[in-house]
């Protein structure tokens, strides 16, 4: 039987992650073979979270993790991938300062663990209160989505890293649950994973009800808020579920005023709908720390677009007069 295979490439960030996603082989979910670039591995936290999530469903004796030779292998160790997979890395390293600017891989299965991570993320990433605001927001909304909609037995896998060169925080949050299509299809009939992703990113659309305004517990706003945070940050946002991926592309710094759209396909984006099927949902996001638009100003933009979207959704359900 063919094993699940993952190759940790030389480089996989949100801008060029498509090749990594295409390289998955998920033939046999009981065995996992991990190989890696021999010279240098530089990967987004999303990649690490995906490997951890996939590996966690496989018992350690069924994981064949090729001995790492890349000079950057210490990064993989330090982010806790071997520990998460229940493997010995064989990599010895001198621990540097305990609070470097990263959040190692964590599995979050309940509210208490989420609260703990939200508290820890501020000192771990050395964030000011203003910088922390959107990061905490993203983490809470995405992990709660996993709790409420994914039916993933292992909860959410996440990690994050600060990149000094670009002054960005990069975050990956992944689950191995039912995926977006199944969740959205509970209330809408979608023909594909991509269509389900499109609806999930549209404000006011939730899989829990067709009712405008949502249920007492869900409004269908979370992913739209998060995409908007990435857009205003002029950075990447990737969401991958089933065989489809939607990627919000970077906005040019030359563009003075950023416009938000209720339809994610109106944003500058790329899509794939022929990827190896990811059983669950994987989200990656980059947030620039500087220059930063005030979170409260972002909320003004969101309010305007959200209200328009709700109004349009209502109008789309108006019955028309019948003239005979």
């Amino acid at each position: 039987m063919i094993n699940m295979k993952i190759h940790l490439p030389n480089s996989a960030f949100l801008g060029n992650i498509d090749a990594f996603l295409r390289s998955f082989d998920m033939s046999d979910p009981t065995k996992l073979e991990i190989t890696a670039n021999k010279k240098w591995i530089s990967i987004h936290p999303l990649v690490l979270a995906m490997v951890a999530a996939l590996g966690s469903s496989v018992s350690p004796e069924n994981i064949d993790f090729e001995k790492l030779e890349a000079k950057s292998k210490h990064y993989i160790e330090r982010m806790g991938l071997f520990k998460m997979l229940g493997l010995e890395s064989g990599i010895t390293m001198i621990e540097h300062e305990p609070a470097g600017r990263f959040v190692p891989l964590a599995k979050i299965t309940n509210t208490a663990e989420l609260s703990s991570i939200i508290t820890e993320i501020v000192p771990l990433l050395h964030l000011s209160p203003a910088q922390a605001e959107p990061i905490k927001y993203i983490l809470s909304e995405l992990v709660r989505n996993v709790f409420e909609h994914s039916l993933a037995k292992d909860g959410a896998f996440m990690c994050a890293q600060y990149y000094a060169n670009s002054s960005t925080i990069r975050i990956g949050i992944v689950d191995t649950g039912v995926g977006i299509k199944k969740t959205i299809d509970a209330s809408y009939s979608t023909g594909s994973d991509l269509e389900a992703i499109r609806l999930a990113l549209t404000p006011g659309i939730t899989g829990t009800t067709k009712r405008i305004g949502g249920t007492e517990y869900n409004a269908g706003a979370g992913l739209f808020f998060i995409k908007s945070i990435a857009k205003v940050s002029r950075n990447f946002f990737v969401i991958y579920s089933g065989n489809a991926m939607y990627k919000l592309l970077r906005s040019s710094r030359a563009t003075k005023n950023i416009r938000l759209y209720s339809d994610p396909f109106d944003d500058r984006h790329s899509i794939c709908n022929d990827l190896p099927s990811w059983r669950g949902t994987a989200v990656g996001i980059d947030i620039a720390l500087e220059p930063r638009q005030e979170f409260s100003l972002l909320l003004d933009h969101i309010r305007k677009i959200y209200m328009n979207a709700i109004s349009e959704q209502k109008k789309s359900r108006y019955r028309k007069a019948r003239f005979i």
Binding site: T111, S115, S140, E141, R144, G213, E216, A219
Partner: protein, 96 residues
């Protein structure tokens, strides 16, 4: 009038929707049903998610109508919390 202090229950970042639902069902709804006015006191709460505010108040607007907003006041809200409450209040009224 009943004042409900949120900080001791939800902390400085109000994101726990289960806590929001519990506050709504166990404190706000009984107060409203008892013809009381309710003050939601956000002192110490620095930020909130839209999901939290939605779980806290959306069903009140749906069940009691938007007149319920004449009986609920929001106190000690910073700019972020104010705006998130504003978004939820607006879209719930637009939706109904």
């Amino acid at each position: 009038m009943i004042s409900i202090k949120l900080f001791p229950m939800v902390g400085e970042f109000a994101e726990n929707k289960d806590a929001a639902k519990e506050i709504r069902l166990l404190q706000i709804v009984p107060a409203l049903d008892g013809k009381e006015e309710v003050v939601l006191d956000f002192e110490g709460v620095n930020s909130a998610t839209q999901s939290f505010i939605h779980a806290l108040i959306s069903d009140l607007i749906r069940k009691y109508g938007n007149e319920v907003l004449d009986r609920i006041s929001f106190q000690h809200c910073n700019e972020t919390v104010r705006k998130i409450i504003g978004i939820v209040v607006d879209y719930m009224q637009e939706a109904e």
